[in-house]
């Protein structure tokens, strides 16, 4: 089990490293460099030379990669092109805000999704299931900007309950975003809940049809106990990975929702950085997103391994 953990951890590190090389090489391969991209027409003479000096672009690429990577490991992604701010500080602020959005959606959405998934799975093809499953398909397929617009129309324009747009500046304390963050969380939560619910539903249906649930029924186990003791632990295992993917998706910045609500999260920062051609910031965000994906998936795999007795013995025996 330990050797398996070490192996997976090393693999994760290697993945992040490869991603960093690809990101760096990709930026390097663009015509021009970070300074010509950022300065555009002003990229000439002293200004360009000054910029290149500040960004350290005069060194050979390998050396620059090494110093960039060394900085990134310590959480220092250099300075941004515009305003010469520390990228780590800027990004850190946004990560915090994105995290808040993600946590809100997860805390509300995951338990709800599991509950609905179990209910629809157990009473499949009944009116309740048909209603909820159809609703889930709508939630999954309607683009977020449309559902966001509809919610804004209903809850902030017609009913006036919550603000429809975020006006708090990014560097304000986190709690100042209440109640502005409610609608973005609801929009994200809807999509996520629908995905996880359908996954859980399928998995519950499969387990309900299994021989061991039939056996439990014929052993005289009451229905509620069958659900909690025999069905849930087995049906929720495959859900762990779906939850992980959703978490990574949420943390990676949800561009569209952030744009619609003007929420100053990671996704919007990325879009801004791209349109400003602020390549160091783009690199930094790409690295953070990649690392998040790797970490979240690793956590999910380890959790599945710990919770699934079958896998657990497999790796115990391999030891």
């Amino acid at each position: 089990m330990i050797s398996m953990l070490i192996r997976r951890l090393l693999l994760g590190v290697v993945t992040v490293w490869i991603v960093s090389v690809i990101i760096f090489a990709g930026v390097e391969m663009l015509p021009g460099d970070a300074c010509t991209a950022f300065l555009e027409r002003d990229a000439k003479g002293e200004m360009l030379a000054h910029c290149r000096e500040a960004q350290g672009l005069n060194q050979p690429p390998v050396e620059r990669y090494l110093s960039w990577a060394a900085g990134a490991i310590q959480g220092d992604f250099g300075t941004s092109m515009s305003g010469d701010q520390s990228i780590s500080e800027m990004v850190g602020l946004r990560v915090k805000l994105s995290l808040m959005l993600a946590m809100g959606a997860l805390i509300g959405g995951v338990p709800l999704a599991i509950f609905l998934g179990v209910v629809t799975g157990i009473w499949r093809d009944r009116p309740l299931d048909v209603f909820l499953s159809t609703g889930a398909i709508f939630a999954m397929t309607i683009p977020e900007f449309i559902s966001a617009t509809i919610l804004i129309l209903i809850f902030s324009i017609w009913l006036g309950w919550v603000p429809g747009i975020v006006i708090t500046p990014a560097d304000a304390p986190v709690l100042d975003f209440f109640p502005e963050f409610i609608l973005p969380i609801v929009v994200l939560g809807m999509v996520m809940t629908a995905h996880i619910m359908r996954m859980v539903r399928t998995s519950v249906i499969e387990v309900m049809a299994s021989d061991y649930v039939q056996m439990a029924t014929l052993k005289g186990v009451p229905f509620r106990q069958i659900v909690f003791r025999h069905v849930l632990p087995n049906a929720l295992l495959p859900a762990i990975n779906v939850v992980a993917l959703t978490v990574a998706w949420l943390l990676g910045g949800v561009v569209v929702v952030e744009m619609v609500f003007n929420y100053p999260g990671l996704g919007r920062m990325m879009v801004d950085a791209i349109s400003d051609r602020d390549l160091p910031v783009v690199q930094a965000i790409a690295m953070i997103v990649a690392t998040t994906y790797v970490c979240v998936n690793l956590t999910a795999d380890v959790m599945t391994m710990i919770l699934n007795p079958r896998l657990r013995t497999l790796y115990m025996r391999a030891k």
Binding site: M215, F223, P233
Partner: protein
Amino acid sequence: MGAPPLISVRDLSVGFTGRTGATVPVLRGVDMAVCRGQSLGIVGESGSGKSTVALAAMGYLKRGLRRLSGEVCFDGADMFARTRLELEAIRGGQLGLIPQNSGQSLTPTLRIGRQITEALRLHCKMPEAEHEARVLDLLAQVRLPDPEVIMRRFPHELSGGQQQRVAIAMALAGEPDALLLDEPTTGLDVTTQAHILELLRDLAAERNMAMVYVSHDLGVIARVCEEVMVMYAGEVVLQGPVRQVLQDPVHPYARGLLASIPRLGERHLPVALEGRPPAPGEAGQGCAFAPRCGLAIDQCRELAPPMAPDGAGNLVRCYRHQDVGGLDAARQGSLPRRCDKRSGAALDLGAVAICYTAQGWLERMLGHAAPVLTVEGISIAIRQGETVGLVGESGSGKSTILKTVAGLLPPVAGKISLCDKPLPVRVEQRAPDQLRRVQLVFQNPDESLNPRHSVADILAQPLRLYYGLKGAELYQRSVEILETVRLGAHYMDRLPGQLSGGEKQRVAIARAFAAEPEVVLCDEITSALDVSVQAAMLELLNEFKRLKGTTYVFVSHDLAVVRALSDRVAVLYQGRLCEIGPVEAVYGPRSHPYTEVLLNAVLEPDPDVAPKLMAADVVELSPPAMGCPFQRRCPRKLADICDQKTPPWREFEGGHGIRCHLPPEDL
């Protein structure tokens, strides 16, 4: 028979709503009664409705099925009329079930101890504190070694035999008055099966339980039942005392079924039952068996016969039951074709050793010991046209060896040659012609045939790959091949899902023979099939042998099947060869103690032949580090020598070899 029956089923019909909206019956007017202390066997082919009857006795129908008429009474009251609470109290309490596949019937995320405790808590009034002691007691009662250890295990950490015992312990936890057993030993090794059945017999006698055994295996029924019910197409066609039904059945279907079972002591191939049973709803107004019956007359096709006593203690659903005896004369199994002793070498395995778990760099760095070899020192030379059977319990490495010959699992040592030319160990390194000459047929056609490819696509693959056929020529050849396995051109467009189990396996065999191979590797190819279909497969293989002189390596855990087809047999234990020789010699009086154990455990469909249980039924995960691999279970173990020294090969006439320390005259 004074007491009223504990379980009584009266005129039960069960069905489902078909695609057209019509009701399709699965069971038709089934009657059954079992009293305390009685044991009833229900036999029939797959799809005959035997499991549905057993589950219906618990008031349970699978999803989609519903009761059309009749009643199922337990202890005097209709199960279908009871409330959910009453059912919960009876199921697992007075009425226990031992399921077919206990590996899948135990909840994978719960420890064994908790699953048994759950049954205790539901059905026994005893203080919580006594539960653990009772669980240990139950586990010991089903003769599981180390109950304390087993209790803390998860289901997948046990072997098939152990899982089955746990399922029995769980059923006993509710102190049942009646037990329903749905194929309780299917899929287990012969030795394990024999032990489990002995255990069930003892328990039944001890607790005076009523038992209903559902099985397709007449050998099992012969061992444990007094009364037998034969089912066909959802109907009971014959019911009577076990001796009568198995020794002289008065229904043509039962007779055909019995003839299709290969026997250990017989040289003939079993006789296949022609045709296939009707699908639910397909049976017309006459006798359901009439289309396959050699005795059918016009009356049979027009009016279904009623269940009537035959005067000798049976109830039979046949107009011509008095003439059934005449059927046997017409049926005589063909003799298996023997190979020519002077023919050249086909396949030669030289000291092959195989290991599943490759050691990774990390394990080596952490200093873990090298894994034990799964298979070691297998040397077998097979002549052209010869059939060599590989037998042994599960885990003996039979299938592993086939995989290696097919190039799917490279050996860690040894070499393989085909017709005296070395064969590359990896399938990717083999030339197309070498690939063509060795073909593999898998155990389960459901998994080995691509469900989205039609029969034509499946057969076209080898023909295109090895012979470059296309267009009309390809079609022509495919049909020809299909006809050799007795399927017609109208099967070409069908998908595997539209074929029966036997038809699927025929297609799989046809695919292998389309390549015109010299060597065909058969991995348990009949074990997923009904006995009647199995007999047809054996005939088919024998015919290919006669026509084309094909060489077979035939893997099976069923010793009677191996006997029916093979020229030579190799007995494996834990991936080590114990004995090899001509069939008559291996099945004869002089054999390795392990072979003897296996042969004695075989159940014959005859209530007068009892198995002899010798070796303890222990599960070994890996062979001992030194000495004889069979040392721990051997009933004839000598002193220390068996623990310490690898036994020598003792050679006898006719190429019969036994690897054992026992002196030759004692073997």
